[in-house]
Subunit: 286 residues, 2 copies
Amino acid sequence: MSQTIKQIESIKEFGGFLNRYTHDSEVCNCQMTFSVYLPPQTETQAVPALYWLSGLTCTDDNVRVKAGAQRYAAEHGIALIMPDTSPRGEQVPDEEARYDLGKGAGFYVNATQAPWGKHYQMYDYVTTELPALIEANLPVIAGLKSISGHSMGGHGALICALKNPQAFQSVSAFSPICHPMNCGWGQGCFSAYLGADENTWEQYDAVKLIEAGANCSGILIDQGTADEFLTEGQLHPESLQQACERAGIPLQLRLQDGYDHSYHFIASFIGEHIAYHSKALKQKTA
Amino acid sequence: MSQTIKQIESIKEFGGFLNRYTHDSEVCNCQMTFSVYLPPQTETQAVPALYWLSGLTCTDDNVRVKAGAQRYAAEHGIALIMPDTSPRGEQVPDEEARYDLGKGAGFYVNATQAPWGKHYQMYDYVTTELPALIEANLPVIAGLKSISGHSMGGHGALICALKNPQAFQSVSAFSPICHPMNCGWGQGCFSAYLGADENTWEQYDAVKLIEAGANCSGILIDQGTADEFLTEGQLHPESLQQACERAGIPLQLRLQDGYDHSYHFIASFIGEHIAYHSKALKQKTA
């Protein structure tokens, strides 16, 4: 596996550096771009990492501009790892008329169906290839990481943690797609990327994973009550809540009154999420 | 003067509301859009206001998405008032090929020259019409306000405070254009909006205003040392420093090592600016 990354941008922020990199991804078969915020503590030491998976239509840029997360990452001494949401490039298949399939909508699965399978391997990308690259090249503590995300990326964070309970110290999500097999967004992507056999979908559905025995030490979720996609039936936190109750997984599902689906909602609570992950990451090192 | 505003958007953030409004501006002769963040304290009381003037190419949207200011406004109980940077609309003259003249580049002056004079009255807009509208319609304490801004908006904040020392309790700026008569951006806009007679420019140049006797109780400025526009000679904080020294105006000019001109720089220090303004605003009410 190629372990070379190329730094293409560096901006000082909160005493640390917000950097952007490109690399040739072997699993996605294309050049990928990602951003990393290195807090000031990395001048003298390696730090834990928090992976942030973004939602539909996003690149690595949205969270770094809109969430206000860097302030808290600097306070807690945590690196933020911000991957893209899909493979990119002219050779990568897309559905240009749709925002919820193809580029910007990788859904954090390994696609098996043509024409998607050659590039849309985002599950392997965010759980294996990218962490190996990060740990080989940047001042993070190998193996000490947590994961969070928003909407489609909240789904991604949940399945990555549930499928790899040893790899991530903690998991949280904002407005996650909890049960993609049971919503329009998830059904559209899963049928395209994974094919018609719904049995193959269950490995990427948080509710189904928990029902099949996946476990983790706890989950923190913030969900706005004025979220249009909650009303539309895309998110289904109640299904996750039921699955967690049956499985005995401690779920903090916080319904935040009057908040919507936007980054303004994320900004309002990202500090509490980073504090939550910081506590879990520091318990591991203590 | 029409005192009607129309709310077109409301997003909950940090317990308060980020609202957007339109209104028919009499001084700018067009419909204008502005944003206001109302902190949670406004549920039960009126609060002081901080006006934020944005830089070249911006609308009201940039600061509300990128600066991370709402968190601190909520903490301190201050409303953020975020106007646009120029008049807008099809009937408003523009230089479409230029980012630094016309729409997005009002420079906070009252234009006297054709074709600009009919609409480009941003000085009167931000110092008179907009505050009257805000105070008539929103839960802010009449007359209790401070001002800040970035780049072209830093220039705007400085001249608004220097020309109206009683109207603003405090003034700060990020990377301000301190001496527009002496830089390309300022000369381009002033010659277009105000004409060839440079004597008319001096009323909108912070350095010239101080040299002519304008005063204020103090100025806080953050300036990144890696700011490309500092190197390019657009900003000239040293001229402002010399003018303030001669006039006895307390200037805190903080050269922030390695920071650039972007909102990532603003985000890093906006909390300190809001704390600075909060202290001045609360001294006034105490």
